[in-house]
Symmetry: C2
Subunit: 274 residues, 2 copies
């Protein structure tokens, strides 16, 4: 959808838009299939995962197969600039995930590191969609750049929203919360709350996380802590700022029928509750 | 080495040959890293595997990262025809491995299925090397096709040799034998021996494999059976036939300084003992 809307925004949907959208869909599917192997997840989108239905070996190969089929399709159609945009994205995504694991369990990560990680692991894929859409429409470099920035900022806002969810108190979301803390993953709400809390509270919270991050009670205490020291408010503010940046990039382009849809996506992210 | 020798055979090494060789090396490394995850192998080339040094998650991502870096390099250099050859190969390789697992544990596979599987899982990569070498030299379609056939037939001969190794009696190879039977993997030496054995012997061997393929004694009995019913001799003959086909494809091209090296590779495979 992002590829097609971005193509429409940038001059019109072409045959290349189909190739770009299919390539990214296959690539995205490949990474999800690989993710389920490494996380040993048995479910995906309410269905059994590939590794659950068969096994990890099959799942790694199915992921590689999807990737190769996507590449084949793109090379058959001579889509060099789309291929370049997508391989840049895959490189950043895998690099980002490795970096996240490197930083994982470090408790003193900065905002800068947080943004660097979410930019690579999440926003890059969304930016690849919007960039490929613009490329497929044969748009100018300025337009491609604007659509890339729109996607990148939308993607960052999207991940901040996900990270806020994990500290939601009410469980009506239908999504389990408190997962990040159980993996000692430091995200914006907690990073800010720690910075904002008085020294003594900060130290005792750090100590609790360091020693008992796996316990359910720690997740509960951390959630209270995040709310108490403004981690949610601050993160919402930052999410909105990145949404704003996405809109500013979009508005550098002449408005057309795609524009209201792309605007609404920013709002949709801010308001979604799953 | 295959890319460079094939380039030299087909007109000369160019900058594209470097890109092709690097792309295939990175791609091959990526598949090995993924293989070690799915096989849970802790060693690779006498060193700890990536999954042993870190973990499976890191190893899947490192594989994806290598693949992406290879692609990036190829797209930056505008190597569309090399990319196409390589993505065709990746698709066939992953398809071949999945097919092998599908056929795995079936005891009644035909020669045709055997060749189909080894063509995809092994020979395709070697053929991609020799094809990319020729493409990188800017060779004609006929030359590219001849180098592709050379690589494909060399690759088939290479895998037959590996499958013969697994039924070697002497252990001086420094390579463990009897592994295929322990995984109920039917390869040419055993497929032929079963076909060539008297009906009663064939049936009792099949029964033994079906019921006790994991036992060390079964591997030993199967090795004797393969030798007794000509499985080794027949497989050596077939390996040499494919080696001959490789040489015939090579000799369709004018001879130059690369030719004796590519000829020797065929002989080297037949004589290697590891």
């Amino acid at each position: 959808m992002l590829v097609f809307l971005s193509a429409l925004q940038s001059g019109g949907v072409t045959k290349s838009s189909n190739v770009g959208a299919a390539l990214i869909e296959m690539l995205h599917t490949a990474t999800l299939v690989h993710d389920d192997v490494v996380d040993e997840s048995m479910e995906r989108r309410g269905q059994k995962s590939v590794n659950a239905l068969w096994n990890s070996k099959i799942a790694v190969l199915v992921g590689d197969f999807f990737l190769a089929r996507g590449l084949q399709m793109a090379t058959e159609n001579n889509e060099m600039s789309i291929l370049k945009a997508v391989s840049d994205a895959v490189q950043e995504i895998s690099e980002g995930e490795i970096e996240q694991m490197e930083h994982a369990r470090k408790l003193d990560i900065t905002d800068e590191t947080y943004y660097e990680v979410i930019r690579k692991k999440t926003a890059t894929l969304i930016a690849a969609c919007t960039k490929c859409g613009a490329i497929s429409a044969g748009a100018s470099e300025e337009t491609v750049q604007a659509m890339y920035e729109y996607g990148m900022n939308l993607g960052i806002a999207f991940q901040i929203k996900d990270d806020i969810f994990d500290y939601e108190k009410s469980s009506f979301l239908g999504k389990p919360t408190g997962n990040d803390i159980k993996e000692r993953k430091m995200t914006l709400p907690l990073i800010y709350a720690l910075r904002n809390a008085p020294n003594a509270e900060q130290k005792s919270m750090m100590k609790l996380i360091r020693k008992k991050y796996k316990e359910a009670s720690t997740a509960k205490i951390a959630t209270e802590f995040v709310h108490q020291y403004g981690g949610i408010e601050y993160s919402i503010k930052m999410m909105q700022e990145y949404g704003q940046k996405a809109l500013e990039a979009l508005h550098r382009l002449p408005s057309n029928e795609a524009t209201p849809c792309l605007e609404k996506l920013v709002l949709f992210n801010e308001q979604r509750n799953k």
